[in-house]
Symmetry: C2
Subunit: 718 residues, 2 copies
């Protein structure tokens, strides 16, 4: 039986049972847990002991003594209409006074902004005043019936993660941890000293698990102490006068509060990012990475490893950012919700190892009498496994209270199997790259920076507006294609890499994922158009290349052979409404196709458009030849085995490589094949909880029939 | 038995039976029909004899001799991508050579335009050439991978209506009627002479039925001789060098071809109209009206009446246009598809009488053995009758072959009843205005000009994208409210009339009906906002006031209390998802509400928003108090009795006049009440083919119970 590559939590007075689980699961690492500190005697019980460390909170004495160095955030008030010349706005209306407070320490006339949202004009600083006691801004000489907002700088007086846990778990009078800002001079000095001190005081662990670093993603609560705004990628709580002044020096121009506020959208990753915001991200990533590197160096000097938790205070250390690799982090650990989140972790460049925290957490919401936690564990494992086959994590692990899990022997046994299966996969792959039939690129405004993170709002939560596109990423995570994330800036700078077979553009009109106004840049549209025309494959999902101009809504309408009716072209007769009887892309379809939120009013613009699916007066899937290339349209693609197959066939079809598809391929769409030519092994997985039979094709297209048990993985030699 | 107010067609050798029908239906007018000329002996058989007259076609000898004076149209080619520096475009590709031909008589470098649609730049005239034989434009020095179109001026060599009839009815080698242009000098002189001549040669009629005048709405066929583009309101076939030069003199600036071409949308009425296009409409309406007035004067001199058919060549004489009343037309006749089209005719100002042509036409598609034409007749009558109650036509009539209808005695009898019922209604109303509980205004870019014609593409056809909004107009046509159509320009010029209770804004984002960018005009948005805030009622349907700016998609989001999620505000938590148990607006609802195409992603922005309907994660109906006013949101409103009731209740609710609703009101939503206080009569109608019972409320709100037979109208004295 193999050993290692597995991390487990432990519990109070649970040493004996912990060792039992260590043995059973082959664990080589033990970690602490939120609200639970490892006992000293843990040292030596496993090869690796992880200790959680917070850089920017947890020392309220320091925070209290240096309140002007607390972290800050930009906030916008509600819209207020001026019914007369004087308008008074309660700036804290709707915000949680225990989380944020207006910053009057820095000059408000410099750092705040009052905006006439009806004209976009900034109200002159002489035309408004602030009443500190009432926390109101009063505008004099307001234009009647215009709407106004106040953008103000606030201090964060409660760390959002601790606040969340505190409120959720009713921690009562436990002190509110105040987050301090590594950019401020005294605090910057302090955090390095504190690091040394902590290492001295915590000799039991050999891995420092940073949770995480300097700035939390945007998480703001409302006046009812509930979440008001959450953006897993948001930078608005990383601002400060010091940062903005340093930005001006570094980039040569000054940011406005509005560059962060962004009409109240706070540069959500769905917004086509402005140059200012991209510059700000770059600026903060550089600062954070430089300073985190110093912390990591201290950890290394002490002979220990540094590990980063992907999430919470990760702003500036996004692992696909420009400066991340320079930090020299040893490992990254993150939570695995499915294939996409697994690849987000597994694909991180420049670290020695990656680790995935699997579901379920050992918490009472799952581990209660009468419930079977193996069900969630199985679903999580099957969903993640197909991604592991493409790019394995180096380690897996679990969180929560081990004593709870221990009470469910069936679960303990199931996880034993998972751990063995994982190590088996890892050993069989042995660092080699699986066979990829195609190279595909997801094209959007974010490119590499948001690899595997497109269309997400708050980590792994379901939103009605995103599952239709997240499905594409989830499908890709386990597909035998080479996946790249490229941005419009990339293709402007260096063109489209010549080895790309298919470009994917998926998203709602106007968003950074579809591209919005970016498509109006002649260089962008002509680069993509030329590339398709000369033989490239394009797969557009939802509202690809959508922005109204020049007689098209889809700027690639001529390539796609479809466009969306916005009402303006109703006068043009639509004649092409008949779907083909059969098509390469839908050959394996076994049930009604699920287009998720789908699209309305898509129509074929020419007779030559191959209509693949047409239902209730709506075109939902099509393909069109354009020059030597081909462009496929799909109205939406939530994750399912069938949609994964449809998507893969779309890629092969768009690339004109239909004949090459049946290599290392299973014709049963519930099964997938991964081949590792370097290690001369291949595996067939069953992604369902039922038995499956399938023909499996080898690299020459020679097929054999095999039967798989529920969830089975079958390894074979080449 | 009453007589008159009814027009019937006749037929070959059918004099005796015609007289029989005249007697039975009480008809006082006989009309000719397409392809059938009244016999001389018809004179005197009825009080009124109508003869169809075409002003601008029907004399091919003239047309042939003056080919340079044929009507013209602006056409745009398909989009063509430049794969290299030279790009050749076949300009007639996709057009019907028998209908249109490029105009090379006028200088093509002056009147044509080659456009780079990727940059919106006009290609210099030296960079392209035209091969007259091949009908191709060749661009030299094209920018690779940019898309180009050619806008060219063409001659119309076949009148669209005759072409349609010719092709549809297989008229074989019957000559193609060529349309000549009243603006060209020789033709202008000709049409007046022709009018005199025709009057001399056709003494049998006393009413000249113009079908219609100078310019056909845009109707272009494709290379398969099928409809390619149809816009009932389109002006693009009214252009010519002469017109455009006269425009320049009149308006002081020159139009570009693009002002007519409009990226290939040809200024569809869904497009927010440009100033240039509005100027052109005004310019053409003035010219057409002036010249039509001369024709009408000639008819009057001859002691006859002039009647206009609403449709076909009506461009320039739209009856709600600025100059229409100055023509002095006696009557207008149009086809009645339902309530909205009836009101479109009945409400026309400045004519002595209006006439509606009812369905079905006496054509073999309905009048065939085994079919019951009374079914369609009944539906048509019931739908139209509720509008007649609000504003009656002065006359009704039928079209087709009388000999066909004659073979269906049940039908003949049913129409006898309709004719009597119509005359009864007309006499009881006696020109008085029915009681209106509220004054509502439909606000869009077109205002009065397109009264009752909003959201239409081709007259009375069903389109998936319009029925959801057409329903609002159809509901209004028979509702006991005073209906006005106002434009954004109106409210900029004169504000919102003080007696308006409710403003309705209905349509898809970006369209002229919703308003698109017009809402970004501070004067527009502040005028509406102020008006609501000070007590006005607003009902927004679909995507009212929608255009992304300043943190809102609905510019009236603060008033409506709802906005639409485009993805940018997903980070903002949405907490308000619970519909009220009951609400004034939905009190009468008896079945699932039909929102038609409905809307996705509408959400309440504040706790105070009253959510009236919330289904499958979508807000579909709501209300919000804003200052002293109120704004109701409805996701869509196709026509039905129930939606009519919902709409009416929305108006009363928005206007804060709930307590005044039950006056001249029937609580059964299948019934409606119209009260004529001047003539001291009121009527209750049953809009269904089933019996109905209802409480009927008088002007004091006193109720009585009454039972109505299917389709019944019950008259009572006040």
């Amino acid at each position: 039986m193999s050993k290692g590559r597995v991390t487990i939590p432990t519990d109070d007075n649970f040493i004996k049972e912990t060792l039992e689980i260590v043995e059973k699961w082959g664990a080589d690492a033990i970690r602490d847990c939120d609200g639970f500190k490892l006992p000293r005697e843990i040292k030596g019980l496993a090869e690796r002991i992880y200790s959680t460390y917070f850089v920017a909170r947890g020392d309220n004495a320091w925070a209290e003594a240096n309140k002007e160095e607390l972290q800050q955030t930009y906030l916008m008030t509600k819209h207020h209409v001026a019914a007369g010349e004087t308008l008074t706005i309660n700036i804290m209306d709707g915000y949680f006074a225990e989380q944020v407070q207006p910053d009057t320490y820095h000059d408000i006339k410099t750092w705040w902004e009052v905006i006439d949202r009806t004209t976009d004009e900034v109200v002159g600083v002489d035309s408004w005043s602030y009443d500190e006691e009432a926390q109101t801004v009063t505008i004099e000489g307001a234009k009647s019936w215009h709407e106004y907002t106040v953008s103000f700088l606030a201090y964060c007086i409660w760390d959002p993660t601790q606040m969340y846990n505190h409120i959720t778990n009713n921690w009562g009078d436990k002190p509110h941890e105040m987050p301090f800002d590594a950019r401020k001079p005294k605090t910057n000095e302090y955090i390095f000293k504190a690091m040394y001190k902590w290492l001295d005081e915590n000799p039991e662990s050999n891995v420092v698990r940073f949770t995480t670093f300097f700035y939390h993603f945007t998480l703001v609560f409302n006046d009812l102490a509930k979440e008001k705004f959450v953006d897993w990628f948001g930078y608005s709580s990383s601002v400060s006068p010091e940062a903005l002044e340093a930005f001006e020096k570094a980039k040569g121009y000054r940011l406005r509060p509005e560059d962060i506020i962004d009409e109240g959208y706070y540069n959500s990753s769905f917004r086509v990012p402005s140059k200012q915001y991209m510059d700000y991200i770059d600026f903060q990533q550089q600062f954070v990475s430089e300073n985190v590197k110093k912390l990591v160096d201290i950890v290394h000097e002490d002979g220990r490893e540094a590990m980063m938790f992907l999430g919470d205070n990760w702003i500036g250390t996004e692992p696909y950012g420009k400066y991340f690799e320079s930090i020299g982090m040893d490992g990254v650990v993150g939570s695995v919700g499915g294939g996409a989140t697994l690849r987000m972790i597994a694909d991180i460049p420049g670290v020695k190892y990656t680790e995935g925290r699997f579901l379920p957490y050992f918490f009472p919401d799952t581990f209660y009498e009468g419930n079977d936690p193996t069900i969630e564990a199985k679903e999580n494992w099957i969903t993640a496994r197909r991604a592991i086959m493409r790019k394995p994590l180096d380690r897996i692990g679990y969180g929560g209270y081990l004593s709870l899990a221990y009470k469910f022997p069936k679960f303990v046994e199931y996880i034993e199997g998972v751990c063995n299966e994982f190590r088996d996969i890892y050993d069989n792959i042995a660092g080699s790259k699986p066979y990829c039939g195609l190279k595909v690129a997801v094209l959007n405004c974010w490119g590499k920076l948001r690899s595997w993170q497109t269309h997400m709002v708050a980590h792994a939560l379901w939103y009605k507006q995103i599952y239709t596109y997240l499905g594409v990423i989830e499908s890709l995570s386990g597909m035998s294609v080479d996946v790249n994330f490229i941005s419009f800036e990339d293709i402007k700078e260096t063109g489209i890499p010549s080895d790309i077979d298919v470009i994917i553009n998926a998203g709602d009109a106007g968003t950074a994922f579809s591209g919005g106004d970016t498509w109006l840049d002649p260089q962008v549209i002509t680069t993509v158009r030329q590339w398709i025309y000369n033989g490239g494959g394009f797969v557009g999902i939802g509202e690809p290349s959508a922005v109204l101009k020049g007689g098209h809504f889809f700027q690639l309408a001529e390539a796609l052979g479809v466009d969306k009716e916005l009402g303006f072209s109703l006068s043009t007769d639509k004649y092409f409404k008949t779907a083909l009887d059969k098509h390469f892309i839908t050959e394996d379809v076994i049930e009604a196709i699920d287009f998720g939120e789908s699209q309305k009013n898509i129509y074929a613009t020419k007779a030559s458009t191959e209509i693949i699916t047409y239902e209730n007066g709506e075109l939902l899937m099509s393909s069109n030849d354009y020059g030597k290339g081909r462009a496929v349209y799909i109205a939406g693609c939530p994750y399912s085995p069938q949609n994964t197959r449809i998507l893969m066939r779309s890629f092969y079809y768009a690339a004109h490589k239909e004949s090459e598809m049946k290599k290392w391929y299973a014709d049963n769409l519930n099964c997938e094949v991964s081949a590792y030519l370097d290690t001369k092994k291949y595996a067939v997985i069953n992604n369902t909880m039922e038995s499956q039979s399938t023909m499996v094709y080898d690299g020459q297209g020679k097929a054999i029939s095999i039967d798989l048990k529920p969830c089975e993985i079958r390894w074979m030699n080449i």
